[in-house]
């Protein structure tokens, strides 16, 4: 349980948001060219990091917009919030 600073609405309770999981997984440009292994990688395999994770959130009970968050999954501290399409902050690895 934590607060998320929506880039459009400001700080709101996490229960207003829906988690979209790991961010920056790019949808395959040529789906028909993909091997089964590559599909599995895209659809199912996740880093599932304990520590600093880049992820997507949707303010589902607010502005309904998607955005990105950098969060430490070992203590739920949010380190950075940035809009869709923006480059992820480079000071977290």
């Amino acid at each position: 349980m934590f607060l998320i600073n929506c880039p459009f609405c400001g700080e709101r309770d996490q229960s207003e948001f829906s988690s979209g999981g790991e961010a920056h997984i790019v949808r395959p440009k040529q789906p028909t060219e993909l091997s089964d292994d590559e599909w599995a990688e895209y659809l199912f395999m996740r880093k599932n990091i304990k520590g600093i994770q880049f992820e997507r959130w949707n303010h589902v009970h607010g502005c309904r917009k998607w955005f990105n968050v950098v969060r430490d999954t070992s203590n739920d501290k949010i380190l950075s919030v940035y809009k869709m399409g923006e480059k992820p902050p480079v000071n977290y690895k």
């Binding site: 349980m1 229960s15 829906s18 089964d36 292994d37 996740r46 880093k47 599932n48 990091i49």
Partner: protein, 417 residues
Amino acid sequence: MKNKYSVFSLIKNALSQHENWQQAWGNPEPKKEYDAIIVGGGGHGLATAYYLAKKHNLKNIAVLEKGWIGGGNTGRNTTIIRSNYLWDASAGLYDHALKLWENLSQELNYNVMFSQRGVMNLAHNLQDVRDLKRRTHANRLNGIDAVWLNTEEVKKFCPIINTSPDIRYPVLGGTLQRRAGTARHDAVAWGYARGASDMGVDIIQNCEVKGIKRNGDRVEGLETTKGFIKTNKIGVVAAGHSSVIANMAGLKLPLESKPLQALVSEPVKPIIDTVVMSNAVHAYVSQSDKGELVIGAGTDSYVSYTQRGSHNIVEETLKAILELYPIFSRMKMLRQWGGIVDICPDASPIISKTNIKGLYFNCGWGTGGFKATPGSGDLFAHTIANDEPHKLNAAFNLNRFVSGDLVDEHGAAAVAH
């Protein structure tokens, strides 16, 4: 068994004021090398070591545990045991476990307090009714006991349920598996630890794995907080931390780790003599032998390793509990906690080899691994010893996410484990 527990040992030790009981399992320092190392000293890991030693004659085994044995999800679940899963592969896996549960106290010479008090799953809408009836039929075709109860029969089986048609999610019926029930979770870990230790397995607590040493496509050993340990077979049974261990070997798994919560009330006199689960409103309840109501909630929606969980999840669950059981409206809750569960996209576990030789994973049990503890250990031990899966866990391989041959138990089979 070196120190067999019996009524005679109880009397003998009573005469010496219970001061001479032997330690139930050893506390050794790690050796330099083992034939196999199990990472994770929960129920599944200890059971794996137990069956490796007992059935596959591997004696030089270690179980490494980061904290204390049974301190992770083994000690954090709501202890529900059942096998009424929809698909054939799941039915085979979970009923294998249930059959082992039925004789586990005798097998381990340790009372795991297995109580076949029945598990009832409630239906709250027409789709629930169709799904649960279908599951009942599927279960019976697989030789698993299951019956459909209408609303009156639900009320008769568990009289404190509010079956009024006027509530938000009325009870339209339910399924009952009478062979299902609960067990004492700590005792399962302790019983397997004692049994394994007795056969020479080293149980090493406070020993965290820091790295996996690889030589090309095979494993060579583990870097731990107690130094490097050589081995060519590693079985990882690390539940919520499976991905963390996999990352050390450069592997990615199809898992997301999320907090799952449970809570218990103050102890009261016997009021509910079965386990009642409800998927649609995501609340399940039973009563422990101490008299506490044991209540399970849902998972948080996001990845987290915090072992806490959000308040709003508990609130939703208690709302549902209060509507279904108005008699509990003045109960006080004593404790709440969270465990980190590793959830697979198809809500089925992975008991599998990997493409790294000597590295095996038993993970992805998600919100319902406790019920499978003996079966999981037995089948994983078989997989490690033979480098081939048993026919009961062949479907639960890692490759199913590539082939598409998923065992989709999400929503299909009473997912509120």
